[in-house]
Amino acid sequence: MKFLDEYRDSEKAKKLIEAIHRRVSKNWNIMEICGGQTHSILKYGIDELLPKEINLIHGPGCPVCVTPIEKIDKAIEIASNQNVIFCSYGDMLRVPGSHTDLLKIKAQGFDVRIVYSPVDAVNIAKKNPEKEIVFFAVGFETTAPPNALAIFMAHQQGLINFTELVSHVCVPPAIKAILDSINNRVQGLLAAGHVCTVMGFKEYEDIAKRYKIPVVVTGFEPLDILQGIYMCILQLENDINIVENQYSRAVKREGNVKAREIMNEVFEICDRKWRGIGEIKDSGFKIKVKYEEYDAEIKFGLEDYSIEESKECKSGLILQGLIKPVDCSVFGNKCTPEHPLGATMVSSEGACSAYYLYKEKKLQ
């Protein structure tokens, strides 16, 4: 496939890895923010091919993993309702809430459906006027414009049986929270290319300046990631702290203005809890008052519910780059993708699941 295969070329990858080896002289901690990148790194064994001086820290960039446990409980509460068709992206179904998960609710006979796009949920609402259709709107800035457009469409079409349970998160505030932490070890950042297709990278210019840290907007294929690391290393070794764009074929500095217009029409910034990390100021989107009739939490009276997380799962430390999945005592024994105890084991983009899939298997 064009724009895919050429970024998986093993000859070029080998040369890039050699170039990285030539350039590195000191130890560096580089964080890849996005779970999609973590997945590629483990899948292609990139971490093992790099010089030992480079330590890749896996960031909080998986929306499935950071959706707070109370949102999962709310989803379960709503879905356990005869009158509801609950629509969600597939990877949310196995995320454990405090008692159960959406897949078990579906097995009990409730109507939980996997959709590929929020537009599918709007279409289900049109076809089933006697039912309440609730769409589980999770994701980063990449997914926010489509999820906003679904509400806008429902509004334009006068649908009164469509709402969204919104758990949107924004990347830059979480990055700042990590860099502000006294435990911070991150010295270079690979910014998530797909988030930047929408948001651009002006926000990262402030981060690079304020924290004196190199930032490379990076794509998802092995060559993208290797080039991102190479560019980051060049900056680190030469004491440069600017934003560079490795993923220029898809990302422009200003991002996608049109997509942001619709996002800002429907959503506004709010404080948001991150699973395993806690509340981060201004790190999420919620539905504006103007569109509150599309807010499932209001419709189902669930705004005030909140709950503590279990302490057994160490995903919060992993998401902040303080430990690796293999450092968790239940990794691979009590906690596996078949029986996940935490969200980072559920999603294929979660660090625990990526380690289990590509590292445990190899060891066995």
């Binding site: 999609g36 499935v64 414009p145 797909h194 049109k258």
Partner: protein, 77 residues
């Protein structure tokens, strides 16, 4: 869930401003994708698609530059 993949626009099916859709081929698998966020997209363009929406048009010139850069890195000793 953040997966976004490149696909080629085969056909644009006109729709209202926010409902403009296109048939997009992902290595042969054809899907209907909303292209209202990329109003300039033309048949033959490659777009990055995510949850049924095209987020950006792939810039072929920039893609070529990246490939040239990669070649260069390999050559520098």
């Amino acid at each position: 869930m953040c997966l976004a993949v490149p696909g080629k626009i085969l056909e644009i099916i006109e729709g209202e401003e926010l409902l403009k859709i296109a048939k997009v081929s992902f290595g042969g698998a054809v899907k209907v994708i909303n292209i209202s966020f990329v109003p300039d997209a033309k048949i033959g363009d490659y777009v990055i698609a995510h949850v049924g929406f095209a987020l950006n048009i792939i810039d072929e010139e920039e893609a070529q530059k990246t490939m040239d850069y990669l070649r260069q890195i390999g050559d520098i000793k």
